[in-house]
């Protein structure tokens, strides 16, 4: 049983991994046909991976409701929200627009989904301002450099900031945008690239571990 439960999946991983890896270096028709077939299949498999997210959300809220966990009443709204989209979607056959007219699905998208998901992250703008005042401390030379770069960018991105720069430092002949462009194309490139190399090799090592069956966490416990 362990053969079916563990060894075959690991072999599939190794086999598919090595063939796919090889397809980058081997250009011939066989390799191209293989990768074409895999692309089509993987696209469909990934289409079902979405069910994992859906089921785990439903499962955890179902659990909350049945156990009457604190705040379980809110969990009902998860299902309500789901039906609020799916029922109109089925009625309008998945079309948000029918010619020039909006369907009920389009209505839900514009007025419910857009406002909800747009606002969730817009709230952060407020926390940035309060952090700027209450927690942004220039207590070391490094923090000062960080602030100086942030200052330039915050100021230079908006028309009012550009006007202020022109008024105070316009005589230098440099626009604030020039400073930002230099910042973005020189020190930022160096900093980001330094971080990138480590991440890149970390990613390669993880991928190697997966192909060789060393990393198996994604498979779940035995």
């Amino acid at each position: 049983m362990i053969f079916i439960k563990k060894h075959i999946p690991l072999f599939i991983c190794f086999f598919v991994g090595v063939l796919t890896l090889g397809s980058y270096y081997v250009p011939n028709a066989g390799s191209e046909n293989y990768i074409e077939m895999m692309n089509k299949w993987e696209n469909i498999v990934a289409g079902f991976a979405f069910l994992l997210g859906l089921m785990s959300l439903f499962y955890s809220h179902f659990h909350k409701i049945t156990r009457r966990a604190p705040g379980w009443g809110y969990s009902l709204f998860v299902y309500a929200g789901f039906l609020l989209v799916v029922v109109p979607a089925i009625v309008s056959n998945g079309q948000p627009m029918k010619g020039p007219d909006m369907t009920s699905l389009g209505w839900i998208y514009r007025f419910v989904f857009t406002s909800l998901s747009g606002t969730m992250f817009a709230v952060l703008a407020f926390y940035i301002v309060s952090t700027a005042y209450r927690a942004f401390r220039i207590k070391s030379p490094q923090a000062f450099v960080l602030f100086a770069a942030a200052f330039m960018v915050i100021l230079g991105r908006v028309p009012l900031g550009q006007m202020m720069w022109d008024g105070a430092l316009g005589w230098t002949g440099y626009q604030v945008t020039d400073v930002i462009e230099w910042l973005m194309s020189v020190p930022v490139v160096a900093g980001r690239r330094g971080i990138m190399i480590g991440i890149a090799i970390g990613g390669i090592v993880t991928a190697l571990k997966i192909i060789f069956g060393i990393e198996r966490q994604y498979m779940g416990k035995d």
Binding site: P9, V85, S115, G191, A207
Partner: protein, 260 residues
């Protein structure tokens, strides 16, 4: 059969979007937006309801997109046309779901290994070329100046600066030698390059988050118009009334707790 058809048509007719619905939409949008913003004052039931609705509605939207744009055209229709080879990826995909049933969860490994092996095989050579070889090539490219003139002096200077900073940052993240002497100096310079990067990122994040807020405010402003019967004003007023009432009730009970 005809009865069923009629019932369905009557049901579907409820979902016809009329101008009245469009106005009502303004109220819904303004209401949900303000409920979420109310978290800024303090955590409250309206925020929680809207937040849970968001989770459900988001999943619902994804579900219908997958249903109509992936499962139907990529699985259902080909099967109807007799292309049974689609069954292989479909079964592998469905195997993922067994993860939720502990006794047969091992079946999901077939799907997972199929995805992970493929993804890992693809990513290795591409990372080497995109994030490794090309980044080295890009760093040294400015040194290829065949003749010195004022134009490429700047690019040479900037290129040197990038290469120097790049190496210093790499020293900062180098863990195999003790940070002493020259290595320490280099890594200390490296951290300033990182700070410039983070500073620029901070500045841009400010713009990004404010843009999102602008988008919501812009919508709220739209719904505060007379065409929408002042939806924003009314909803906001109702919520403020709730908080005042809430505070009064709490203080009568002997003081509540503010979040902060």
């Amino acid at each position: 059969m005809e009865f069923l058809g009629n019932t369905w048509n009557a049901f579907a007719a409820i979902f016809t979007v009329t101008p009245g619905w469009m106005t009502f939409g303004g109220w819904v949008a303004a209401g949900l937006t303000i409920c979420l913003f109310s978290f800024l004052y303090k955590d409250n039931p309206f925020f929680k309801v809207a937040e849970h609705l968001y989770l459900g509605a988001g999943m619902g939207w994804l579900f219908q997109v997958y249903l109509f744009q992936t499962w139907k055209p990529k699985v259902f229709l080909p099967l109807m046309e007799g292309q049974y080879s689609v069954l292989i990826p479909t079964l592998l995909g469905l195997s993922l779901v067994t993860q939720f049933f502990p006794r047969i969860s091992w079946i999901s490994r077939y799907g997972f290994t199929f995805i992970m092996g493929y993804g890992s095989g693809l990513v290795i050579p591409l990372t080497i070329s995109t994030d490794f070889l090309k980044q080295i090539g890009g760093t040294i490219a400015p040194f290829m100046v065949s003749e010195i003139n004022s134009g490429n002096i700047m690019s040479l200077l900037n290129g040197t600066f990038v290469a120097f900073g790049f190496i210093c940052v790499l020293f900062y993240f180098f863990f195999s030698v003790e940070h002493k002497g020259a290595v320490k100096k280099a890594s200390n310079i490296g951290i300033y390059f990182l700070m410039l990067y983070f500073g620029a990122a901070f500045g841009n994040t400010v713009m990004g988050r404010f843009s999102l807020l602008y988008g919501r405010f812009d919508d709220l402003y739209k719904y505060s118009a007379p065409d929408y019967f002042y939806a924003t004003h009314v909803v906001l007023g109702l919520l403020v009334a709730y908080f005042i009432l809430d505070k009064l009730v709490l203080s009568r009970r002997g003081g509540g707790q503010e979040a902060h």
